[in-house]
Amino acid sequence: MNYAKLLAAGALSVLAAACSQPDTAAGAGSEQADTPRVVNVYSARHYRSDAAIYAAFTEQTGIEVNLIEASGDQLIERVRADGPRSPADVIITVDAARLHRAEEAGLFAQSDFAEFTPEIADNLIDPDGYWIAIAKRARVLAYSNQRVQPDEVTTYEDLADPRWEGRICVRESGNAYNQSLLASMVARLGEEEAEAWAAGIVANMARPPQGGDITQIIGVAAGDCDIAITNHYYYLLMQNSGEAANRAAAEAVTLFFPNQETSGAHVNISGAGIAVNAPHPEEARELIAFFLSDEAQRMFAEMTNEIPVVEGVEWENERLDAVMPFVADTRNVSELGDHNATAQRIFDRVGWQ
């Protein structure tokens, strides 16, 4: 009967699949000359353009990249659960808090990252040497050209002012970038003032949070609100979008880096570290070194509109040029992780959905 055969086929396939794992935990054997070199990457980045970066790495070094992409928390869970048998060599996150968590969970090995490149700001490296930033993103403001005067917009703190009532669009509080932004406010201003700020933002929201950052920018362009909080690269993406409506929305909106006179714009990082039980630590170091090379840094700037962490890198990206340079927050990004839990509680208390 068909079903019996199907079942048998199914069982066989399962067996086959189960037994066919790529050689990820080659262990001591990986150094042999006839075995291709590999590096196992657990990445929370989900940009398809990263494939080009890995390809360039493989071309340069001959090291094959085995990749798993998942959310930062999930990756942390998996590496933790696998323990000493974990095949992870490099762990990459898209925000500082996850990096901090991975460090707290003891997933990283200590490395001397400073020797990879001197041209990187101190606040972008873990003071204890567990991780290093590979790309930056700024969380800034986008305001309506029509309804907002340029001199109206100054700082993050100012957004809590009642004169912005009903004029702010921002996404849900669960988003990692909002959490880091609030964490940075906690670090700078203390919990009480940060909570007051968050409450002010909630009072000034034009509509309950919905959608992502691009949704907020579109909301500003459409008149639902006058100013939005967004990561810088979404704006640049919309300027270059194949979709005419997105381009038009970007036209109607100006990107603004706040706190230029005070603490600097809030910056988050995509960072990487070497796993403490890495089966291929040498290859892991090479990959991270590659991320920090001019070539990769340039690709970050040109493909995902991220901001390179290495100074002096040249890139070809007009739109990114248009918003650079800017004054960035110089506090060490590890503080963003320290205060994330506090930020979450503040969000809960003020009812930022």
């Binding site: 079942l7 199914g10 794992q21 669960g174 639902d224």
Partner: protein, 542 residues
């Protein structure tokens, strides 16, 4: 006392024991989550939550679930009845096409609809702002109703097809008009199947994260993710997910308690296949329209919008291997799940406590949000690894070669654990139609147990079991969190690619993988539809 009840005191035989074991294995990840919840360190985050957001989460969860269940129940029941009992233009095609919206991940529909209806979106502009923005609890509930109604539809259709027409006709002769007769006979008799479908709808909408997060409906699953991701406490997330599990248990417990001694199928076991009502021309067109509307809203509009956006973007690379991965994972899981559902349904017939308990426990995996369920799976696998490694080492002196979490089999395990409910419920409903009298007849005629299953039961329950397999197939195609974390290296599925783009708000690039998911789902649907119509005609059913 019915023969089935008389069996209640016996110890389960081998086959039943295997089925119970399988069910328990599927339930293991939920137990793992419960273990984490119970044994983790106590913090004060939950107390803090209770003071702040917990009421909002609970209210929104209830709202979303109610709207989803109401919408899906209405659409699924009405369309299921129309397709099963009437004749109208296009009925044969609609019969299986109506299942397709299930293959649209709810968050894809949400992204598309928000994009269309937001301020600045085309619908908003075209209607001068009159078209409401799809958002909040209402928006999320609506999205779930539109993409999850096939659960109810499938079960309603199968049950209405099998219902004897005579009960409805008897009601007519006793003075009930068409609607009244339907409401007082056909509907109550379909209740177990409808309840099974609604249970799936409610659980999936409660466990969802992507849709409610994007549309801004703060449900319990959002609170759960915030506890983990924001407050950094996986233990509290596990505790919150236990609330969801408790809700699932209560809902099902209530439903079952209400059912009492009443049955849903005729006592005599004989049934006359119901001849279809031929609807008049206008009625027929109205019926076809009724079928078209949910399809349009849940399937055609979102995918068309994405397709439109895709015109301006590059097609995503690597879709072919991803499609293959999606297809094979889904097919294997579907077959295994159908087997699991069938064997569990049989085990349930014996009405032993342990069989019932294991089956319910296995079904709970569905109520837990995928990300947390994946953690449960990881915990089980790593726990098993921790047991095997030293044992293997001491016996063979070598390291155990397989890393359990890295094998594709781990994914299958995760899927079965999560989607057991989608297989067991429909199988149970299908098997309920096989009366003990049929068993007795077959056995006295010399058929062994296996033969009885094959020759007597199977033709009657084929539709239900195949539906169960189909449901799991589609679920696995759409599945995201477990797939993301448990997949082997360099292994993408369509759902993952679609999600990666969509969550980055690159809807145009998300279009093609999103479109491919229902397309891939079409394959088994056509196969199943053909197989079932052959089975039905050969067994003499209309």
């Amino acid at each position: 006392m019915t023969p089935a009840a008389r069996q209640g005191g016996r110890l389960p035989d081998r086959a039943t024991a295997l089925a119970i074991l399988a069910a328990l294995v599927c339930a293991a990840p939920v137990f793992a989550v419960a273990w984490i919840a119970v044994t983790g360190e106590t913090g004060d985050y939950l107390a803090h939550l209770a003071r702040t957001r917990l009421p909002v989460y609970l209210v929104n969860s209830a709202l979303v679930a109610a709207i989803a269940a109401g919408g899906a129940g209405l659409i699924g029941t009405v369309l299921g009845w129309l397709v099963a009992r009437t004749e109208f233009p296009g009925r044969a095609l609609f019969s299986w096409v109506l299942i397709l919206p299930l293959a649209v991940p709810a968050y894809v529909a949400a992204y598309a609809w928000l994009d269309l209806s937001q301020a600045g979106g085309p619908l908003h502009a075209a209607t001068a702002g009159l078209f409401p923005t799809v958002r909040g609890a209402w928006g999320a509930g609506l999205m779930f109703a539109l993409v999850l109604y096939p659960y109810v539809y499938l079960l309603a259709r199968d049950t209405f097809t099998g219902q004897s027409a005579d009960a409805y006709n008897a009601a007519r002769t006793l003075g009930a008009g068409p609607f009244s007769a339907f409401a007082r006979t056909s509907l109550p008799m379909a209740r177990p199947a409808l309840a099974a479908g609604l249970a799936l709808v409610i659980m999936e909408s409660l466990a969802d994260y992507g849709t409610v997060s994007y549309l801004g409906a703060p449900t319990l699953s959002i609170g759960l993710v915030r506890a983990w991701s924001g407050a950094g406490s996986l233990v509290d997330a596990a505790r919150l997910s236990l609330i969801l599990v408790a809700v699932a248990l209560i809902v099902f417990g209530l439903e079952r308690a209400q059912r009492s001694r009443a049955r849903s199928h005729a006592a005599s076991g004989r049934h006359r296949p119901a001849p279809r009502f031929h609807l008049s021309r206008t009625q027929g067109l109205a019926a076809a329209l009724a079928c078209l509307i949910p399809l349009a809203l849940g399937l055609i509009v979102p995918l068309a919008r994405l397709g439109w956006l895709a015109l301006n973007e590059q097609p995503a690379p690597n879709l072919l291997p991803a499609s293959w991965h999606s297809l094979t994972l889904a097919a294997i899981s579907a077959v295994l799940a159908a087997g699991l559902g069938l064997s569990t349904a049989y085990a349930l017939r014996g009405r032993t406590f342990i069989a019932t308990a294991s089956a319910r426990a296995a079904g709970l995996g569905y109520a837990v949000p995928g990300a947390v369920a994946a953690v449960g799976v990881i915990a089980i696998l790593s726990g098993t690894q921790a047991l095997i490694d030293p044992a293997w080492q001491s016996v063979t002196g070598e390291v155990f070669p397989v890393l359990l979490t890295g094998a594709a089999a781990a994914l299958i395990f995760a899927y079965l654990s999560r989607f057991a409910a989608a297989a067991i419920g429909p199988s149970e409903a299908a098997l309920a139609r096989v009366t003990p009298a049929l068993d007795g007849a077959a056995r006295t005629l010399g058929a062994t147990r296996g033969e009885t299953v094959r020759r007597v039961h199977w033709p009657l329950i084929a539709a239900g079991i195949t539906s169960a397999g189909l449901l799991v197939f589609v679920e696995v195609l759409k599945e995201l969190p477990a797939t993301m974390i448990l997949r082997p290296f360099n292994y993408d599925t369509l759902a993952i690619i679609a999600h990666n783009y969509a969550s980055d708000e690159r809807l145009g690039e998300a279009a093609l993988p999103s479109l491919l998911i229902p397309l891939v789902a079409l394959l088994p649907m056509i196969f199943v539809a053909r197989y079932l119509s052959r089975a039905r005609s050969s067994s003499g059913q209309v």
